[in-house]
């Protein structure tokens, strides 16, 4: 890979993790983010499952869009097609993981049915198409998006754990404080925006 290619790949992954974090910047996958961020181990397991499914489904969806929908001029069907692919893929994946690796299944398996309808996964597939990525860039972007989602939920779980010992007004405890924490985290992540733009400008 040439140096500019490497920089571009790094920029796509880093931007997907930090500045354009699918959770904190686009607010996708919020429901499971708020519901499953009480324990770090649960959050990490769910994050891993989301990353796994995102990386696996985004290239499939990219191929379906570019090899099936676009040639037949049926791009308006993309939402339906992508949702079907993700839901079906998760079903198959659950059975394969259960059979092949009981250890992996006990760590990820219970989260798989939960993430069938996770909007972050659909979002990653859609963004990769909208931004006109090729299949490799799509793969990198989906990896970054999944890792970014995982990073956000694990950080959130750590923060919420500390918040349990905080002396907080009753009305503010729970989801209310979690929303404010998410907002502050989003601000912090956006602060990294300049770094990646600078890196891209320097490489040109």
């Amino acid at each position: 890979m040439t140096e500019s290619g490497f920089t571009e790949a790094a920029a796509i992954i880093l931007a997907a993790i930090f500045t354009g974090n699918i959770l904190l910047h686009y607010f996708l996958g919020m429901c499971s983010f708020l519901a499953c961020s009480r324990e770090i181990s649960t959050a990490a397991g769910l994050g891993l499952a989301v990353t796994f499914v995102t990386v696996a489904t985004a290239p499939i969806n990219w191929l379906i869009y570019n090899c099936l929908l676009a040639p037949f001029n049926l791009t308006h069907l993309w939402l339906l097609a992508f949702i079907t692919v993700i839901a079906g893929f998760v079903q198959v994946l659950e059975m394969v993981v259960e059979r092949v690796s009981p250890t992996l299944y006990s760590a990820l398996g219970i989260f798989l049915p939960l993430i069938t309808v996770n909007c972050a996964i659909l979002g990653a597939s859609l963004f990769a198409i909208i931004r006109g990525y090729n299949v490799w860039q799509c793969l990198l972007y989906s990896l970054g998006a999944g890792l970014g989602w995982m990073l956000a939920i694990v950080l959130m779980a750590g923060l919420r754990r500390r918040m349990q010992y905080a002396d907080m007004p009753a009305a503010f405890a729970g989801v209310a404080s979690a929303m404010v924490i998410a907002a502050i985290m989003a601000l912090a992540f956006m602060g990294l925006g300049g770094v990646i733009e600078m890196k891209l400008a320097l490489s040109k």
């Binding site: 069907l77 893929f89 059975m95 259960e98 006990s106």
Partner: protein, 370 residues
């Protein structure tokens, strides 16, 4: 255009469905698996791939279960001595460290993928399914219904035990626990007292069930046993619908030993929730050593026609009960009430071993105490 849309979507759906069917056929098929019960006491051959709870149910072993396999009630705890895989994250909130070390698992979460060995108490092996017909029903209060079922075969139970009603739902039957409130003398009849819980699958179904309607029950469950000592005094404390098993216990005790000493404390929210006062009044008239106290925790929420005691039920117990040990207590009601009453009873000199508590909550969180 529309034709092509249908064809392309059909192709995607078809490929995925085919993949799922192939996986189901070849990956999710675990063949027949053997469940060894109580180290060789009994061997059950069940289809693999299902949960332990479903497998046992198909082999007519009925574990208690109150939440419809959602891993939220913890009733289906069972000891695994071999097989079953690692403890899942869904089970951890309901298991203590001691449980995990001792091999206790939730049967509704353990999936059978190979031979497995479990231990079951003999009581549970005696549990079976009964077919029942609703014989009569009537409202006890504005939201509580008393139902009497005629059973197809006699059910042997101890007062204080409960049954699991099989409630038909669109997703298949779910089981809900209800205490038996009728006398244990009539083995072919069970009486339940059911309070309507908003959105509750079991209570809604039982409140709508018409006389003559069919219903399946598994039972009996529960470990409470009345003391055999004729000198022992029984103290019963019931909160709300927790009166159901208490009624059965008191009725049984007084018919077996008319001179038995028994104190009953009943807590209700307001005067609309008071039930069975006339029934206990009649018992007190016939049995001089039986007395009862009703206390309303929030009398102002209902009509102002209450002249009796008010306040939380544990205050009534603290006020009315004389200190002394050698007595047995049965408490049935919501968790905070049980905690408060247990504290008062221990202060009064009862030993913890003589206090039996039965948590009586809405179906999702219902758990029996042991």
């Amino acid at each position: 255009m529309i034709v092509w849309s249908c064809i392309v979507l059909g192709c995607i759906g078809g490929v995925l469905s085919a993949a799922i069917i192939v996986c189901r056929r070849f990956l999710a098929d675990y063949g027949l698996c053997a469940i060894d019960v109580n180290s060789g006491g009994r061997t059950l051959d069940v289809a693999g791939g299902q949960t332990l709870l479903e497998a046992l149910r198909s082999a007519e072993v009925f574990l208690p279960s109150g939440c419809g396999s959602r891993a939220s009630c913890g009733l289906c705890k069972v000891r695994l001595t071999d097989g079953g895989g690692a403890v899942l994250a869904t089970e951890r909130p309901l298991l203590t460290q001691g449980d995990i070390r001792g091999g206790i698992r939730l049967a509704c979460q353990v999936r059978i993928r190979g031979p497995i060995a479990i231990e079951l108490p003999p009581d549970l092996l005696a549990v079976r399914l009964y077919r029942a017909r609703l014989e009569s029903a009537g409202m006890l209060t504005h939201d509580t219904r008393r139902l009497t079922f005629a059973l197809d075969e006699p059910l042997e139970f101890h007062p204080g035990q409960y049954v699991q009603a099989s409630i038909p739902t669109p997703d298949g039957p779910v089981f809900r626990a209800y205490s038996i409130s009728g006398s244990s003398a009539d083995k072919k009849r069970i009486e339940l007292i059911v309070r309507l819980v908003a959105g509750g699958a079991g209570s809604t179904y039982l409140h709508r069930l018409a006389v003559g309607g069919q219903m399946d029950f598994a039972g009996p469950y529960g470990q409470f046993r009345l003391s055999d000592d004729p000198e022992s005094e029984l103290i019963c404390v019931a909160g709300g619908c927790g009166l159901a098993p208490v009624k059965c216990i008191v009725e049984h005790l007084l018919s077996a030993r008319p001179q038995a000493r028994c104190r009953l404390f009943v807590g209700a929210k307001d005067s609309r929730d008071v039930m069975l006062m006339g029934f206990f009044g009649g018992l007190a008239g016939r049995h001089p050593d039986f007395s009862y106290v009703y206390s309303l925790s929030n009398p102002r929420a209902g009509p102002a026609d209450w002249a009796g005691r008010t306040g939380m039920i544990h205050h009534a117990v603290a006020h009315e009960l004389a200190p002394g040990g050698g007595r047995q207590a049965f408490i049935c009601g919501p968790e905070p009430m049980i905690a408060a009453v247990t504290r008062v009873l221990i202060e009064k000199g009862l030993s913890r071993a003589d206090i039996y508590a039965d948590r009586f909550e809405a179906a999702r969180t219902w758990t029996p105490a042991g």
